[in-house]
């Protein structure tokens, strides 16, 4: 029996929460619950998914309001204590705003909403998120965003490279992201943020299963 207990946070405006729930609960058969943003505790959940969508209508900046929602205090505590947190798309933006990951995500360079499957290289496999992708160098995952252009200062970028925190890079940069960054983790390696959607690539019916191994890696890390 898996020891993973997934918690998928639901903000007003989240719209990939059900994708994540479906993939984890029905396809990977994991103990999965939704966590409403007004709750003050993540309870017994040990893997937190901050899902994609348009939390709070993307008002002010993507993720800027969500980071102050009630549940985020406990998510930050969980992350600081070494707990696993995965932010996908809007979730990545929220984790950056919350200071759990460095940098920020700004408008795509061509100002367009980009929605397609993109090839990614896995830059680091010595972590709890990609350990099971052994032998795989390139995967394909869907992206769907207008603000996925990763930005940080030069010192931060150097630090990301030095500490091998860049987990995924675009092969064909769809948004102008610095250093082709598609996903990064924190120094401790327990918080991941990525613009592509692994939860939307877990069964053949959606034309791809490359996202499965990410969640399977996390599940394995807890057993």
């Amino acid at each position: 029996m898996s020891k993973a207990k997934f918690g998928v946070i639901v903000f007003p405006g989240s719209n990939c929460d059900h994708d994540a729930y479906h993939s984890l609960k029905h396809l990977l058969c994991q103990d999965t619950k939704f966590l409403w943003h007004k709750e003050s505790s993540i309870g017994d959940r040990n893997v937190i998914i901050v899902p994609g969508g348009f939390s709070y209508g993307d008002y002010l900046r993507c993720g800027a309001i969500a980071r102050f929602s009630n549940i985020m205090k406990d998510v930050v505590r969980h992350a600081n204590e070494g707990g696993t947190v995965i932010g996908i798309c809007n979730g990545f933006q929220i984790l950056c705003e919350a200071g759990l990951l460095p940098g920020a995500l700004i408008r795509n360079i061509n100002l367009k909403f980009v929605c397609k499957n993109v090839p990614l290289t896995i830059e680091n496999k010595k972590n709890i998120f990609t350990a099971l992708y052994n032998g795989t160098k390139e995967i394909s995952l869907p992206v769907a965003h207008a603000e996925g252009n990763y930005l940080c200062d030069e010192d931060t970028l150097k630090s990301l490279e030095d500490y091998e925190q860049i987990v995924f890079r675009y092969k064909d940069n769809p948004n102008g992201s610095m250093a082709n960054i598609a996903g990064i983790m924190n120094k401790k390696g327990n918080v991941l943020g990525m613009m592509p959607h692994p939860e939307r690539a877990c069964e053949e019916i959606v034309r791809g299963t490359d996202g499965r191994k990410l969640f399977e890696s996390v599940i394995q890390s807890l057993n």
């Binding site: 002010l60 900046r61 800027a64 102050f68 950056c96 705003e97 940098g103 920020a104 700004i106 408008r107 360079i109 061509n110 100002l111 930005l151 940080c152 200062d153």
Partner: protein, 90 residues
């Protein structure tokens, strides 16, 4: 009562594609002497503070904590004290 007028723009070092696009459009109208077009946000709020300094401090705090993200944005603001007529009106 004080009014804070806050402007938030992308940092100078960051390409502002919206600004660029608008600039091209302005130039196509024949205004060739236009450059460095930046698009940003404008926030106006009223503060019940005991002094100009306090209103300043509060506004700066709000900007740092929420309104602007220092990774990508700069902000400036102006604080003005409301006249008695303005206070009564509101």
């Amino acid at each position: 009562m004080y009014t804070a007028q806050i402007k938030i723009t992308l940092r100078k070092s960051i390409l502002d594609p919206q600004g660029k696009t608008v600039e091209h459009s302005v130039q196509s109208l024949g205004y060739r002497n236009i450059k460095n077009t930046r698009i940003g946000k404008y926030v106006e709020l009223e503060i019940d503070a005991s002094s100009q300094e306090e209103a300043n401090r509060i506004t700066d705090e709000i900007c740092r904590k929420l309104l602007a993200n220092p990774v990508m944005e700069d902000y400036t603001f102006q604080i003005t004290e409301q006249s008695e007529a303005e206070v009564e009106q509101s």
